[in-house]
Amino acid sequence: MKPAAFEYSAPSTLDEALSLLGDYGGDAKLLAGGQSLVPTMNFRLAQPAALIDLNGIDDLFFIREDGSGLRCGAMTRQRSVERSALVQRVAPLLHEAMPHIAHSQIRNRGTIGGSLAHADPAAELPALAVALDARMYVRSVTDARWVAARDFYVGLFTTAMLPEEMLVEVAFPTLPPGSGWGFDEVARQHGNYALCGAAAVVCLDSGGAVENARLVFLSVGEGPVEAKRAAELLVGERPTQTAIRAAADTAAMHDIDPVGDIHAGPAFRRHLSRVIAERVLSKAIKKATEAGRH
């Protein structure tokens, strides 16, 4: 229950951190909030030879608005995201979902970048990032690139980042006019990882039909799972309760393939997925209708 020894460095600039990461190769781990990394080190499931502590790099802590939406530095604490009036205004879905992540004491340390990079299939932020069509800014000493959230997640606890790369910031585009959103999850206790959850973003056209829909699940696959068939069913349709229910059924039956664990078997997870999908789609459509372009 104690971590193995490691070398510790606490750079104060991004360039220093990237060059340390490059030098260590795959032997070092970046230390963000430590709320996922340190437990695995305490259990010795992870025994990195070195930790590069990002907590002293002031440039990685920011929340700002630009012409196209919201931008958050990787080290922005989850608690700051939750409490930011800017996030509430520019990315209300993100704001609404933050309290579902762990407990306040964990969010005080945990960071947005740490959670996105960790790629836990049960985590809320990766699913939210895919639902909101977020883009990740990834850097190494030699390279810098933007990766779309849906390309960022490639498997269980696995992202498209190379060992020498680091997530520097994440950008959430403003939703187009006529959009609505919804988030919900079921957890055994508030603050626990969810048994199943989903985020939905729906955009209605001026005639009130669905122009675009995204439904993304957490905790039912190896990463965030986009319910593409359900979305296809909705596009072009008028969003009636029957259409929503049909989409939720399709999502639960055809878009996901959940495995069971001690808390919930595959059948129960499918059931939860259907119920949650119907709820979040209904919420999203209600908001989109209120926002109304027609």
Binding site: A10, V38, N42, S104, H190
Partner: protein, 160 residues
Amino acid sequence: MDLTITVKVNGREYERSVEPRLLLSDFLRHEIGLTGTHVGCEHGVCGACTVLVDNEAVRSCLLFAVQTNGREVSTVEGLDAGPQQLHLIQHGFWEAHGLQCGFCTPGILMSLVPFLEQNPDPSEKEIRDLLSGNLCRCTGYQKIVEAVQLGAKLIQEKSS
């Protein structure tokens, strides 16, 4: 390689040479002898080890002591208002029987200090949301909720 750190704990500065892998919880308990901070799970789940770092409630089992170099840490030992004088939140727990074995209590108290500063008159739901971050194996939480309500009331009465 050991690193030398200076940490202010409950208002007093401590300089120690520590291994980077030393957890803040073990630093508090073993290096400076403040055993009021309890250690239950060492993976962030139980909340018994919660302390304040720069006035924010955090898990001391998920921080390395070296990360608190130059920072201010508050533990349950620093809560009392003076010798034999409990903090008003502690009074609430005393009067409303907010504890049985007491293992979870230090972590709960430390979570409550910033919580009640920011939200002096919390609803029962807000109290229960906060307490979700602290496991108690004894009380069933009902008495803890009542203790928090009483503590909040005592603080408000004193400040009015």
